[in-house]
Amino acid sequence: MSKELPAALAQNPDLDRWLCFDEHETLTLRTGKVELGQGIKTALAMICAEELDLDLSRIRVQSGDTEVCPNEFMTAGSMSVEGSGSAIRQVSAEARHYLMRLAADLLNAPFDELVIENGHVRHPSTNRSTTYWELMAGRRFDLQASGEISPKSADTHQLVGTRVQRIDLYAKFTGQPVFIQDQNFPRMVHGRILRPPGYLHTLQSLAADTIRAMPGVLSVLVDGSFAGVVAETEMQVIAARNKMQALANWSRNGLLPKPEDIHDFLTSHVSVSLPVVDGMPVEEPVPAIIQTEAAAVRLAATYTKPFHMHGAIGPSAAVAEWREGKLKLWSHSQGPMVVRGAIAQVLKMRPEDIHVMHVENAGCYGHNGADDAALDACMLAQSVPDRPVLLKWSREDEHAWEPYGPAMVLKLQADLDGNGNITAWNHDTYSNTHMGRPIPFGSVSNFIAAWHKAEPMPKPEARPGMALHGGMHRNSDPYYTLPRKRIIKHLVQEAPIRTSSTRGLGAYGNVFAIESFMDELAHTAGLDPVEFRLQHLQDQRAIDVVKTSMDAALKARRRNRADAKANDKRAAYGHGMAFARYKNSKCYVAVCVDLMVNTETSEIKLIHAVIAADAGQVIDPDGLSNQLEGGFIQSASWTLKEQVNFDENGITSRDWETYPILTFPEIPTVDVILLDHPEEPSLGSGEATQGPTSAAIANAVFDATGLRLRDIPFTPDKLVSAALKSR
C-alpha cells in the first residue's frame, strides 16, 4: 500500500531530480534548500547516506540551482529537515530498493540475501557483488517516487543521530573560494551601487559623464534614483563609486518619525486587527478585553522591542551575466526560485530565461540584502552584455538598506484565581510586517532597485499574514492550557522603516512578552515562576524540557557561583528561565540563564546558559546543538545590545560601532541538552531559542535586582531608569 508522499517529493516526484550517481563512485544529492551556515547540507546528506548505506564522504550536495534542483521555494521557518529531509529519506529509500532489484537480477541472487556496504552490493553466499555505479552505468532512474517503499525504521539507524564532521567546513578552514565574493569567472568585471542617503531621498544629479571618464569604468547606470557603476577592476569600481558619492546631489522629501516615538506610532496608528485563534488569524471583529469577576490577581504589562538588524558579517553580493537576452545569476538568496520570478517581473523577462545558482555568503538567518543585491547585479549586468559582473555591497549598504526585524509592542493582561490558575488571558501584538520578501505579484515589488527606478514599481501594501503562526502572530498563542484567551494581531501597514523576516519572525517578541509576563504573574501572586508554568502545562514533553533545564542550571549555578560570588561585592546575581514550543508545533525549548548585574555600571554580564530541547528525532545532534546555541547567542545579542538607530533623515546605524553586537568576551558558557526521541518526527528547531532567550534574560535580571525590564535592548540606561521608576 502506498503512503502519502512528503510534500516536497509530491511536487518533485522524479528520482533524477534528487539523486545522480556520478562517475567517481560518488552521489550528487540535489535539494532546493540552501546552506545558510545552519549545516543543512550535512543533515540532508546524512539522511541520504543512511537510507542508501553510503559513507557520508561519497555524497556531494548541490543546492538551490533553479535548472537542476527540486523547487522547494524558500529556506525559511525551520522547515528544511522536516520538508526536504523527509523527501530525501523517501526518495533515497526508493532508489535503494530499485538498485537492490537490479542487483538481484544481475547477481542472480534473492533480494533478501543482498548486503549493501558503502554502495557495494554483495551476495554473501556466492560472493558475487556489484556497485550502485555499475548498476546505474551513467543511466538515469526515469522513475517517479511511489510511496510504496518504507524508509528504514529509526531504531536501525547507524549514521543518523550520531556526531559527524560537517561536510562543508574543510573548504572554509583552508581558505578555499566558497563564498559569493570569492567567485571568479573569465572576463569578470566589478560592480558597485550608490544608494540614496536615506529612504526619503531622491537623486537630483550625478555627473555621470565625469564618472564614465574615470579609468576602467565600463558603465554608469542611472535609472531614477538607482545608481550603479561597473569597472574592469575592483579598485577602479571603488574609486568610481566613491566619486559618484561625492558628486551626487539628493533631495529629501519628508521626515522619518522620531525613534523614541516608534512604539507610540505602532499602537496609535491605523491597523488591520485580527483575532488569532489556535495560532491562526481569523477575519472576525476584535472582541473586548477578557476579564473575570472576582479575580485574585489582575495584571497588565506592555513590552517592546526595537528594529533589529540581520547583520551578516559579509555584506550582500551577487554575480550576474547577461548574454543573448538571458541572465545567469549567482546569489545567496534564501529562495533562488522565488527571487528568479521576482527579478523576472522587474526586468520584464520570462522566469525561465533567468538561471539562478545558490552560492553561500555569511550567515544571518532571515531576509537580508541578498535578494536586493541579486537584482542590482542583474541590472548592472544588462549594461555590460557578455561580462559577468561581481556586485558587492559595502558594510554601509547592508546596514542602512537591509530590511530589519520590525519594532513591536506587546500588550498583555491576565487574571488569576485564588489558586494561582490563569482565568483570563489577553495578548495584543502591534507591528509592521514581518514578510517583506520579494515575491512576484501584480505591478508591485519588494526590491529597493524597483522602488528607485525612473518608472518605479511601488512597495506592495502590507497584508496580514493569515497562515498558522505565520508572521507577527507567530507564538502569540501561549503553549499553556488557558481556559479563556483573547489574542489579537495589529498589523500597522504604514511602515516608515523597511522591515521583513528576521529569525523567528514574531516569535521573538511574543515569547519575550509571554514568558516575562508569566514570571510577573507568578511573582505578583507569590508563586514560584517555574511551578506556575508547570501548573499550566499539560504536554509531558514540554514539562520534561523545563525540568531538565532547571536541574542542569542548578548544578551549573552551584559550580559557577562558588567561584564567582566571593570575589565581587558589586555584583548582583540572578537566574531566569523561559520556555516555548516553536510555532506551538515544532521544537520544545527551555532556556535557563545565570547572569550578574554590576551594581555600579548597571551592565549585565551573562555567566552561563542551559538550553534543553526536544526536537523529536535528531538527525545531526552536533548541528542541532550548534543551531540552538547560535540562536541563543544571537538572541542574547539582540536583547542586551541591539537597536537600529535613526533620525528624521535616515538610518544612523551604519557600521558595527553604531550597531554593536555581542563580542567574544561577553559570551557565556552554554550547555545544550538534547532530549532525543528517535521514534518521533523531527521538529524544526533553527529558530526555536530566539524567543525564550530574551525572556530568560529579563527574568534573571529581575531575580538579580528586583527590576523588570520590558523594553529591549537591556542597556545600562534601561536598568538605571527602571531603578529610578521603582523608587
Binding site: L36, I238, W250, G363, F632, V670
Partner: protein, 177 residues
C-alpha cells in the same frame, strides 16, 4: 540638498592622491617573495584577494571593526582592509592559506574541524589567524585570554563557544607535542 554619507566603503579612494602612479612593491606572502606593481594606496585585502588569488581574508566592514580580514604582518595582527600597499613594502605576511605545511593542516585547522567550530564560516579565517598568533605568544591561554584575544573578531552565527573550545583543543595538542 546635498547630504554626505558617513562611512564610505574606503575613505582612501576619495582622495586623488592615489589616482595614478604605480609603484613596485616587494613583500613575502606565506613564505614566497612577491613583487607587484600597484597603486600604493591599495589596501592589502584587495592585493591578496585580487592580485594573489588568496581569498581567505574577507571583506566585512572596511574599518577594522569585524576582523574578517585579519592576517599576520611581521608577527603582528593586521587588518588587511586598512593596511595599504605602501605600508607593507618589505613585510612578511601570513594568511590562512599559509598555515598548512606540505599539505598537512595546522593544529588549529584540525581542531576547528574536530569541533565543527563554525556555522557559516565567513569569520573563520580572521579568527584562526588571530588564534595562531595567540598560540605563538601564549601556549596555554585561559578561556578569558582567548575571549580577549578575539575581542576584535565578530561572529554573527553564535559559534563563539565552539571556536573557543577549538583553540583550547589546539593548545592542548601543542602541549602534548
Amino acid at each position: 540638498m546635498a547630504i554626505k554619507l558617513i562611512f564610505p566603503e574606503h575613505q582612501f579612494a576619495m582622495t586623488d592622491a592615489h589616482a595614478g602612479g604605480l609603484k613596485e612593491l616587494k613583500f613575502v606572502v606565506n613564505g614566497k617573495s612577491r613583487a607587484i606593481r600597484i597603486d600604493p594606496g591599495t589596501p592589502l585585502l584587495y592585493i591578496l584577494r585580487n592580485e594573489l588569488g588568496l581569498c581567505s581574508p574577507r571583506y566585512g566592514c572596511g574599518s577594522e571593526q569585524c576582523g574578517a580580514c585579519k592576517v599576520i604582518v611581521d608577527g603582528k595582527m593586521g587588518f588587511a582592509c586598512t593596511l595599504t600597499a605602501e605600508e607593507l613594502d618589505g613585510c612578511d605576511i601570513r594568511t590562512l592559506e599559509g598555515l598548512a605545511v606540505d599539505g598537512s593542516l595546522h593544529v588549529l585547522q584540525q581542531a576547528f574541524l574536530a569541533e565543527n567550530a563554525a556555522q557559516c564560516g565567513y569569520c573563520a579565517s580572521g579568527i584562526i589567524m588571530t588564534a595562531a598568533l595567540l598560540l605563538e605568544e601564549n601556549q596555554a591561554p585561559s578561556r578569558s585570554e582567548i575571549q580577549q584575544a578575539l575581542v576584535g573578531n565578530l561572529c554573527r552565527c553564535g559559534a563563539h563557544n565552539r571556536i573557543i573550545q577549538a583553540i583550547q583543543r589546539a593548545a592542548q595538542e601543542l602541549s602534548i607535542e
